[in-house]
């Protein structure tokens, strides 16, 4: 009896989601594939500016980022206070180099969930490398208008407990297939983070968010605006950049 009830509820949910989806919407899987295709790259290089707002106060962090695929990345902070501090990401591991102490420290465990350099961006956010389509199941649940642009509302549910968030609700540009805004939830249903794209640019035949705002909802009255400048995709980067030796250079 209990099993029948669960199946009936699941069937009802599926029918409801189908009924809510816009008639011309591609399938959720197709939308995720388009997002993955749009936002994945062979390599990337940019200068970043992180504007961290805490109440009425602001702190600015600037950096240069180079990455190959989703598994190798090198970040060097260039603002005066953190100048020379570097981060090396290799697969799921992260090392930080502190120039004053000439010390290299591996960031691991729950520290990965903490805000990077006091921002709303966690080390885990920076490390996230799984494609959405391999980590979440998705359903198109409706349509919305974000900043004057038509967007599909897509709900993602984690397929694995290792996923960073249990549930995500995305508003995806219906034409460009860029995530315009997103809410990220814990298993308890608590809203953990929000993201809002403020600027989307066309780069080499694809659309890419170059300014976006993240809010960690576990903190009070904070937000981090990340701006990507001088962004180039799919350039040749020396693999030797992504080594501990380069981190400490």
């Amino acid at each position: 009896m209990k099993r029948s009830l669960i199946m009936a509820c699941a069937l009802w949910a599926a029918v409801y989601a189908w009924a809510q989806a816009p008639a011309d919407a591609p399938s959720a899987a197709a939308i995720l594939a388009r997002i993955d295709s749009n936002e994945s790259f062979k390599s990337i290089e940019y200068t970043g500016r992180m504007e961290i707002r805490i109440g009425e106060e602001f702190r600015i962090k600037t950096m240069r980022v180079q990455a190959i695929g989703a598994d190798k990345a090198m970040v060097e902070f260039t603002n005066p206070e953190d100048a020379g501090t570097r981060m090396l990401k290799l697969d799921k591991d992260l090392w930080m180099y502190f120039p004053k102490e000439q010390d290299t420290v591996r960031i691991s465990g729950h520290l990965l969930k903490e805000g990077m350099m006091g921002s709303d961006v966690s080390y885990e956010d920076a490390l996230e490398s799984d494609e959405l389509s391999s980590t979440y199941s998705a359903t198109v649940t409706g349509e919305a208008e974000i900043g004057g642009r038509r967007a599909f509302v897509v709900e993602l549910k984690a397929l694995t407990p290792k996923a960073k968030f249990d549930r995500r609700v995305m508003r995806v540009d219906a034409e460009r297939f860029v995530v315009l805004s997103e809410d990220m939830y814990a298993r308890s249903g608590r809203l953990l983070k929000t993201m809002e794209a403020r600027k989307v640019e066309r780069l080499g035949g694809r659309w890419y968010p170059t300014v976006f705002v993240l809010e960690d909802k576990l903190r009070k009255n904070t937000s981090t605006t990340m701006s990507l400048g001088s962004l180039v995709l799919d350039i040749d980067l020396d693999p030797g950049l992504f080594t501990r030796a380069a981190l400490e250079r």
Binding site: R59, T62, R64, E81, A83, R249
Partner: protein
């Protein structure tokens, strides 16, 4: 405790103020031009101890960094104005002054630099070229005059050769290191020959993360002419743990088999520059966030064998973009170097500005 009065020990306090700076610009690390950055800080420390003495230290520290692709240079020095029962004196110390050149994968560093080979906080026997010391609130490594050549082995490993020559080459120190990452742990194997001290030391260090961060180091020094069993063993083990991003705690234990057994031996070792001459020590620190721009901390060093302890309370404030203020107060139940039991108290402040 000597009840006759209070003496000032030059052990800790500070008052740090001020700092002025210049500009730096072009922060592109790999751009074609030089990028410049630095930090200036002014600090002051005052201390009292249980005999009629006092002391103070006002220090101005300046760090300048310049870099362009393949080249990096850093200079850091401190000017101190010291006062005490014997009057006032001035001192200057050069913390770091080096040039780093990295043509391709090889990295060559020349000058006074921190040769950081260990993971320990206050004690790091794996560091065969860099001593650690407690400066103000935080342990830090001391620069060594050396030539260092590093070559990567794979993505996370490498080998290094270091030479710290002396006017008589046979008095210099020469060593090497192999390091890497395996089974979720960072490890390093080191060896060095110290000509002036006439000894050869081998050491190993490992650091891993099992919910707790854990590290251990061991070093074995063999004097010239001694048998393999006549060497001296030093080891450190430590752990750290944090709750969210608001609380962090770390603790470290040090055992030095060759440490002083009494005050006379301690004074002898202290005269040779050993800040912690005894056999068993414990170091611990904890810090907690107090809002988005402030944190509170407590640190303690305990000489377990002699029952001497020091504790320091601190508060740090992120005053403004690139500016920070730290204040602290400390108490010690005796001297870690002379092993006397005279109480001492200190306080200080430090203001730093990055540019």
């Amino acid at each position: 405790m000597n009840a006759t009065g209070y003496r000032i020990a030059l052990a800790a306090a500070m008052a740090a103020i001020g700092v002025a700076t210049v500009a730096s610009q072009d922060f592109r690390p790999e751009g074609p031009s030089w990028s410049l950055s630095g930090e200036a800080s002014f600090s002051g420390t005052a201390a009292w101890a249980t005999s009629p003495q006092y002391g103070s230290d006002s220090a101005l520290e300046l760090t300048l960094k310049a870099r362009r692709p393949g080249i990096r240079a850093e200079f850091s020095g401190t000017a101190d104005a010291l006062t005490g029962p014997d009057g006032a004196t001035a001192a200057f110390s050069l913390e770091r002054a080096y040039l780093r050149w990295s043509p391709g994968p090889v990295v060559v560093t020349l000058g006074r630099q921190i040769v950081n080979w260990g993971n320990g906080l206050l004690w790091s026997p794996a560091d065969l070229f860099a001593e650690t010391r407690l400066v103000g609130l935080s342990p830090e490594r001391v620069g060594a005059d050396a030539i260092r050549v590093a070559l990567p082995l794979g993505a996370l490993g490498g080998v290094e050769a270091v030479a710290a020559p002396a006017s008589d080459p046979s008095d210099g120190s020469y060593g090497g290191r192999l390091y890497g990452y395996a089974l979720g742990s960072d490890f390093g194997l080191q060896a060095a020959r110290d000509g002036a001290a006439a000894k050869t030391t081998v050491s190993a260090a490992v650091k891993t993360d099992l919910v707790l961060g854990l590290w251990a180091e061991i070093a074995y020094a063999v004097p010239d002419g001694a048998g393999p069993g006549d060497g001296s063993l030093e080891t450190v083990a430590g752990a750290d743990w944090s709750i969210g991003s608001w609380f962090f705690v770390a603790a470290e234990y040090r055992y030095n088999a060759g440490g002083a057994r009494d005050a006379a031996e301690a004074l002898e070792a202290a005269a040779e520059g050993e800040a912690y001459p005894a056999r068993h020590y414990l170091y611990a620190d904890a810090s907690a966030k107090a809002g988005d721009f402030a944190s509170l901390g407590i640190g303690s060093v305990v000489d377990l064998g002699d029952g001497i302890a020091s504790v320091t309370l601190s508060a740090a404030l992120d005053v403004e973009q690139d500016a920070s203020l730290t204040i602290w107060a400390g108490y010690s139940s005796g001297s870690m170097t002379s092993l006397d039991g005279n109480d001492a108290a200190s306080f200080g402040m430090r203001l730093a500005l990055a540019f």
